[in-house]
């Protein structure tokens, strides 16, 4: 297993870029007749009066932060899971202790209401 095995990923990226680039180029074929009304952002037919980028509900940020926490915990679980059958009980104890901290974190944010969508 060496870096050579990752080379096909590059090949597929080239294929993906080719597909994406080809379609982007093709999308130039259609007519271009811009006019001010057409270029307005779509707001169900109403004239846009307020700026587009406004303040956001806090829930989105909370979710993003929770994701980072849980995803990192997840990343730590993979190596332990891989060696579970080789190491048996010690690995199991390790994983259970770690899972307890994950569950504790989940219970905490749950009690604090961070999982409620307002």
């Amino acid at each position: 297993m060496d870096l050579y095995d990752y080379l096909p990923i590059v090949a597929f990226m080239i294929a993906g870029l080719a597909v994406g680039g080809a379609i982007l180029t093709l999308s130039r074929i259609g007519p271009t007749k811009p006019n001010p009304a057409k270029e307005m952002p779509y707001e169900s037919g109403i004239l846009a009066t307020t700026p587009v980028r406004q303040r956001f509900p806090i829930d989105f940020y909370l979710t993003a932060m929770l994701f980072i926490v849980f995803d990192i915990e997840l990343a730590f679980l993979y190596p332990v899971a891989l060696v579970m059958r080789d190491n048996g009980i010690p690995a199991l104890v390790l994983l259970l202790v770690f899972t307890v901290t994950v569950v504790e974190a989940l219970a905490y944010v749950w009690r604090k209401g961070a999982l409620e969508w307002r």
Partner: protein, 332 residues
């Protein structure tokens, strides 16, 4: 087992597989419209060519000749790059789906997959993560409130369900002791398909997969009744089609991923392995379409609550139970 291939062969394989998957995408879309028609007691498209089989071509031609304009408030560079980024990650994901071990054409041996890494599962997650950027950038760069809200919702939904999906796979990893999809399939050939050992993990994976591909009942990012079309609102013509294409390619890749993890991948009697994998992928895809025809859309707070308060705890319990059973009874 692994054949060392020159780079040009990889490129040919990449081009071929991308072509095949995109063709499958075109016909899955047609099949979806036909099946949805049947589910609703009508015919679906049947006028273009024999039984409507030329419908994808007609759709593409129509989209090519649509005007493709950029809204005034848009960030022009990102607005154009975003759909290409989504396609790029979707097509790259194909590389990791194993259609078999090795094959032979005209005396040349080659691997029946793009590549088989010892971290394939993680690479797929990483690619999915980069793919999110495309959707979110597309919505943000449109300069439209609906798009921006759709993008924010997409981000929150995708990251929420990614955690559950990652956890649902750990059981399989424990049993197979590998993150390489080929090894996982081989593990299933020598024992049983992991759906029998990990039924709960499979269900969590299924639900998360539907959410990750923004399909009904989790298609909140493009909920027409509240957000027009979410991050797609300002996209027209072929760029609009690129997002649809990426969604379907992602569905196909995730189906192949799920089939390899839980349904034995290319394992099966009589027929060649790649046919088995394709059949299993089609079963998944039919499930996606069936769900779309059957279920109503969730509300956004229900979606988030379900992801964090139902799916995540179930996945955690499944993980702990699997760990205890594997760690105590199935040591090497």
């Amino acid at each position: 087992m692994i054949v060392h291939e020159p780079f040009w062969l990889m490129l040919i394989k990449a081009a071929l597989l991308a072509f095949v998957v995109i063709t499958i995408f075109a016909y899955v879309m047609l099949a979806e419209r036909k099946l949805l028609g049947r589910f609703q007691a009508r015919y679906g498209p049947n006028r273009t060519g024999l039984m409507g089989l030329m419908q994808p071509l007609a759709d593409v031609l129509k989209l090519v000749f649509k005007e493709d304009f950029t809204p005034r408030g848009a960030n022009r560079v990102l607005f154009h790059i975003a759909p290409a980024l989504v396609i790029l990650t979707a097509v790259t994901g194909i590389a990791l789906i194993p259609f078999g071990t090795t094959g032979e054409i005209l005396g040349h041996e080659f691997n029946m997959y793009g590549t088989d890494l010892n971290v394939s599962v993680l690479v797929l997650f990483a690619l999915a993560g980069i793919g999110f950027y495309g959707l979110i950038l597309g919505g943000w760069a449109s300069g439209n409130k609906y798009s921006l809200l759709g993008a924010a919702r997409t981000a929150a939904q995708l990251v929420s369900y990614e955690v559950a999906m990652g956890l649902s796979i750990i059981g399989v990893v424990m049993i197979s002791q590998s993150l390489s999809l080929v090894d996982i399939v081989h593990g299933q050939m020598t024992s049983v398909w992991y759906i029998l050992l990990q039924p709960v993990g499979f269900l969590v994976f299924l639900v998360a997969a539907v959410a990750e591909t923004n399909r009904v009942p989790f298609d909140l990012p493009e909920a027409e009744s509240e957000l027009v079309a979410g991050y797609l609102t300002e996209y027209a013509g072929l760029k609009f089609a690129m997002f649809a294409m990426a969604e379907y390619v992602n569905m196909i890749v995730l189906s192949g991923f799920g089939a390899s993890l839980f349904l034995g991948g290319f394992d099966g009697p009589w027929l060649p392995g790649w046919i088995w994998l394709l059949l299993k992928i089609f079963v998944f895809l039919f499930g996606f379409i069936w769900l779309r025809a059957t279920l109503p859309r969730l509300r956004y707070d229900q979606l988030m609550r379900f992801g964090w308060k139902v799916l995540l705890p179930i996945a955690l319990v499944n993980l702990v139970v699997t760990a205890i059973v594997v760690g105590v009874f199935f040591q090497n």
